[in-house]
């Protein structure tokens, strides 16, 4: 289950403010691309446009070379922070994506997934009774169960403590190895990009325009030394972009 995701010349303004100023980006089938940029650079907006939630002023989103349907639904979004429905139990939340996708016996498969993602025994708990890590695990299970070929991740692990984040990084890498989705991950954390991504792109401050690809040694999973190298490259690129933003 993979597809090629291509963003072509995306332009978007919000009132007087330009948010996207011609963004081009391609993610090959089954590839994980991280987009690193400072806060407020338009990362979340880019994902909204890619997901079909916001129509761009110019440019287009293409899936496997064809135009993406203008209705959301083929690309699954895993947003920042809490995205579980507070009034549904954990199992019901995990089932939402599968149920909407028309998967038969979604409820039973959701209960299986709850166990597989290490949440057994908490099926009937409401989200507020679970830790932040467990909630993000459930969000991950829900996204996986929805069976979308393209995943868009918006700083999904930003609000977690370091240990929980490391556990979830390992978990999400496993899930991707199994399901091979095409992934576009936006983050402001260079370490997260170094751990999870095949390729890393860096954006300057708003408006988001040309993206700079940084050199990434080794394939995943990387050694600590390789991760440190990626992190340095990302920081260098961010500094350079920031300088360009200030002189422009």
């Amino acid at each position: 289950m993979s597809a090629e995701l291509a963003l072509r010349g995306l332009v978007l303004g919000r009132g007087e403010v330009a948010v996207l100023a011609g963004v081009d980006l391609t993610v090959a089938p089954g590839e994980v691309v991280a987009l690193v940029g400072p806060s407020g650079c338009g990362k979340s907006t880019l994902l909204d446009v890619a997901a079909g939630l916001v129509p761009p002023d110019a440019g287009e989103v293409r899936l496997d070379g064809g135009p993406a349907p203008d209705r959301p639904g083929r690309l699954a979004l895993m947003p920042q922070g809490d995205s579980l429905l507070p009034w549904r139990t954990l199992a019901d939340n995990v089932a939402v994506g599968a149920r909407l996708a028309g998967v038969p016996d979604a409820a039973a498969r959701a209960r299986e997934a709850v166990t597989r993602y290490g949440l057994a025994g908490f099926e009937d708990h409401y989200p507020h009774a679970l830790s932040g890590g467990m909630r993000q695990r459930a969000a991950l299970a829900r996204t996986a169960l929805a069976g979308r070929p393209v995943w868009l991740l918006d700083e999904p692990f930003g609000a977690l403590d370091a240990l929980t984040r490391a556990e979830l990084h390992a978990e999400v890498a496993d899930v991707w190895a199994r399901l091979r989705p095409t992934v576009l991950l936006v983050t402001h954390d260079p370490d997260e990009a170094a751990v999870l991504a095949d390729r890393v792109l860096v954006s300057g401050p708003r408006p988001m325009g040309r993206l700079v690809e940084v050199a990434v040694p080794e394939a995943r999973p990387r050694t600590p030394a390789a991760r440190a190298a990626v992190r340095e490259h990302v920081m260098d690129a961010l500094r350079a972009q920031h300088a360009v933003g200030r002189t422009a």
Partner: protein
């Protein structure tokens, strides 16, 4: 404060009030029609229990029908206002402006046009529709945009998203409005009875005081208070049933929500 202490705290105020009331009776010995004793009110309620029940039924009917109409009309209006900027611009300012007219002052005019019961129902409805509309609009508008965004990308239609995300997110706010509305509805029905009625607890209060049966009037007022509290508790119970996640860690067995 521990649970047991809080339980003990609950009857302190009413018991203190009753004691002060009885103290005034003992010390001042006022005439019965001026200030009857708590015991006299109790016995008036017991002796006239059939009359009280008859009038309570009338007031309760007006209150509940008025509340029902306000709820139905208020929710439809609120859904429209929350969904459409055009409707909001056309309607919402007038909903707010209508509250500048004291609703109770409309009662005599309505009594000219309509029959008594209908007047009481409409006054009750007008008085309690405002909190329903305001809290429903705020609730429907105030939902977390991230939740809606996420389920939309999981393939939810706009309708599914509205019903399964926007509406549940609005319920806590709406229930606050409903609690206000339940209490306002009783007030509306009773005040409209003063204007013209041949039954109802407001009517009973009025004719009893006119005939110096103060004890019966006070008994009628006590029943009104009871009705108000009962309606409030009913809304609170409905809230607990509709929003189990606000009170518990796991899904209760009686919930069928999927």
């Amino acid at each position: 404060m521990s649970r047991a202490w809080r339980r003990l705290a609950l009857p302190v105020l009413p018991l203190g009030g009753l004691l002060a009331w009885q103290a005034v009776i003992w010390l001042e010995r006022p005439r019965d029609w001026l200030l009857p004793s708590p015991g006299a009110v109790w016995w008036a309620a017991w002796d006239h229990r059939d009359r009280l029940w008859f009038h309570a039924r009338a007031t309760l009917t007006e209150t509940l029908v008025g509340l029902g109409i306000a709820l139905a009309a208020g929710l439809v209006l609120a859904a429209g206002i929350a969904a459409s900027r055009a409707l909001e611009a056309a309607v919402y300012p007038w909903v707010v402006a209508s509250q500048a007219v004291p609703i109770l002052s409309l009662a005599p005019v309505m009594a000219v046009w309509l029959d008594y019961t209908l007047t009481q129902i409409i006054v009750a409805a007008l008085l309690c529709v405002f909190p329903v509309i305001v809290t429903a609009v705020d609730g429907l508008r105030g939902g977390d945009a991230t939740l809606a965004r996420t389920v939309r990308t999981l393939g939810a239609s706009r309708g599914w998203t509205w019903w399964h995300v926007t509406v549940p997110a609005a319920l806590p706010s709406l229930f606050s409005g409903l609690k206000l509305a339940a209490v306002f509805a009783v007030t509306g029905a009773v005040v409209a009875e003063y204007v013209g009625a041949d039954r109802g607890l407001g009517y009973l209060t009025e004719i009893s005081t006119a005939q110096f049966e103060t004890a019966l009037a006070m008994a009628a007022i006590a029943v009104l208070g009871l009705i108000g509290v009962l309606l409030f508790l009913l809304v609170a119970l409905a809230e607990r049933l509709a929003l189990p996640h606000r009170h518990r860690a796991t899904r209760p067995t009686w919930s069928t929500h999927t």
